[in-house]
Amino acid sequence: MSVTNAPHAPQPIPLPACGERVPRGRAGGGSAWPFRVEPLTGALGAELLDIDMARDLDDATIAAIRAALLEYGVIFFREQSLDIPRQKAFTARFGELFVHPNIAGSAADPAIIDVVRQPGDTKIIGEDWHSDTPQVAQPPMGSVLYAVEVPPVGGDTMWANQYLAYDTLSPGMKAMLDGLRALHSDRRVAGPARDLAASNARKLRRDDEWRETASLHPVVRTHPETGRKALYVNRQSTIHFEDMTEAESKPLLDHLCAHAHRPEFTCRFRWRAGSVAFWDNRCTQHIAINDPMPSRRVMRRLQILGDTPF
């Protein structure tokens, strides 16, 4: 038999890296973006320049932003001036706002999640690779995260392209995962054992009132807009495969979760005050880098309603 890949080597990465369609910005043909687009890496992520999110953007611009989100998986905006109403107005152009079941929003508005790190905090929200809120039956399709105050250095965020994670699996592994489902739970991130500093987020329930939220989702999901398949397991929420024990599931889950964020699938974003990240939660994972940093970090997150993964 011909060995095209060493047994432990990953499948080659297909091109183009991101969306199924020929990328508008890079292919030369077709309509150009109505704003400047600067990709971060070959895997995913792009900065969209010359957009003032505080303004009432026309439908064509919103449609182009949505197309960029689908193509790049995560898009970034710099130098924005958003308060809560403006961030909500922008986010609502892409769908209904999602209200998190387990984190109390700002007093004034349950859709707003303040993600605050204080000097001295040792644990932070999202410090392991994850997609957002997969414990619910219909996880949010995306998030819009706004940096109000960030340290001069540290506190970056990384994203990983889960289309690539799926595409680079072997045909045998793809066949094995076909039709398989896994249980996702918030027990690791929000359960009583989890000792999040009180300043990070206000839990809706106290520990003794905490009840697990869990849902079964396909291990490989099909993106409802691009039609592409993406790996949908992560270290933070995926507990076991359907009808298998945790012990039985662990070796393969460990392999898939480690594979999911290989460096060549990722991008890393350095925040400045006024930066915005808008990610597609259906085909990416992300991690908040918990590097030692003495300063405050204040972020404001809104999420958009998603559909049932299939």
């Binding site: 003032d52 505080a54 130098e79 001036s81 958003l82 308060d83 809560i84 109403p85 403006r86 961030q87 007093a107 004034a108 706004y146 940096a147 109000v148 105050e149 960030v150 005050a273 006024g274 204040v298 404001r300």
Partner: protein, 295 residues
């Protein structure tokens, strides 16, 4: 009745709010404090009507929002000293016997700087966050206070100018604001009033919105030739104070007006010099120098 805050003017939904159902003679409860802070974040200027409160009650209310600035000292004979407690800025035109100051009184003339658009204490390294101004006696005409929305001023700047000013650092001093009115200063005052540096563009730590930080105290831009800096600061000030971005407050006795100096400028309007105007200000300090704040 619970505290409610509504726009002062229907066509301006996020600048200048009217606070109802609150009695400032009583200690402020936490939910009221939170509602007022949220209202300040949204409206930047809040009006409380009919608050016949004592100096002590004004001080107690103000302390709920942070550390107070000591009152400024006006160079001169200090004929006002002793009229009211020292943590309250006397913005009146009265001497300690509650008589209007003579027209040529240096203290009165110095205070005429309030007629120029400014942000309180922008000449201090740590400038003012909130100011609270209570009117006890007002003249029968004139004396309005006007507020300019500096968030809107940023939003409406053209992009090229936004980029030009985004990281500018200005120098602020009363030498500039009073110099504009023709004051000259002793050698001692020139040392005492040495300029401090402030960012020209600030980001509000809670809302995350950008705003222009201008003031008549601002008279130089670091790295810029002086005449060019003065001309630009004047242009920006004219842009910021166009009528559609200005709220004019017509005082009634026992109005208290509270504003966020980080995102507004204000000025007093002229009034007859022989009429008593008894207006008292408390001032909450900001957390840090603007150069140390994220922007």
């Amino acid at each position: 009745m619970t505290i409610t805050i509504t726009p002062m003017e229907p066509h301006r939904p996020d600048f200048a709010g009217l606070v109802s159902n609150i009695d400032l003679r009583k200690p402020l409860r936490d939910p009221e404090r939170d509602a007022i802070e949220a209202g300040m974040d949204r409206y930047a200027v809040l009006v409380f009507r009919g608050q016949d409160i004592t100096n002590e009650q004004q001080l107690a209310f103000s302390r709920c929002f942070g550390e107070l600035e000591p009152a400024y000292s006006v160079p001169g004979d200090n004929v006002q000293v002793g009229r009211i407690p020292s943590e309250i800025n006397d913005v009146s035109n009265l001497d300690r016997h509650n008589k209007p100051l003579p027209r040529d009184d240096r203290q009165r003339l110095f205070q005429l700087g309030n007629l120029l658009w400014h942000s309180d204490s922008s000449y201090k390294p740590v400038p003012a966050k909130y100011s609270m101004l209570l009117a006890r006696a007002i003249p029968d005409r004139g004396g309005d206070t006007q507020f300019a929305d500096m968030r809107a001023a940023w939003d409406t700047l053209d992009r090229e100018t936004q980029e030009l000013v985004r990281n500018m650092i200005c120098e602020h001093s009363r030498l500039f604001s009073r110099g504009e009115l023709g004051f000259s200063f002793s050698a001692e005052e020139q040392v005492k009033f040495a300029p401090v540096q402030q960012r020209l563009v600030r980001r509000h730590p809670v809302t995350g919105r950008l705003s222009l930080y201008l003031s008549s105290h601002g008279g130089a831009i670091v790295g810029w030739p002086l005449p060019e800096a003065r001309a630009l600061l004047r242009e920006l000030t004219e842009h910021a104070t166009q009528r559609e971005r200005v709220y004019t407050h017509k005082w009634r006795p026992f109005d208290m007006v509270m504003w966020d100096n980080r995102v507004t400028m204000h000025r007093g309007k002229r009034y007859p010099a022989d009429q008593p105007r008894d207006i008292r200000r408390t001032t909450v300090m900001d957390a840090a120098p603007t150069l140390q704040q994220a922007a």
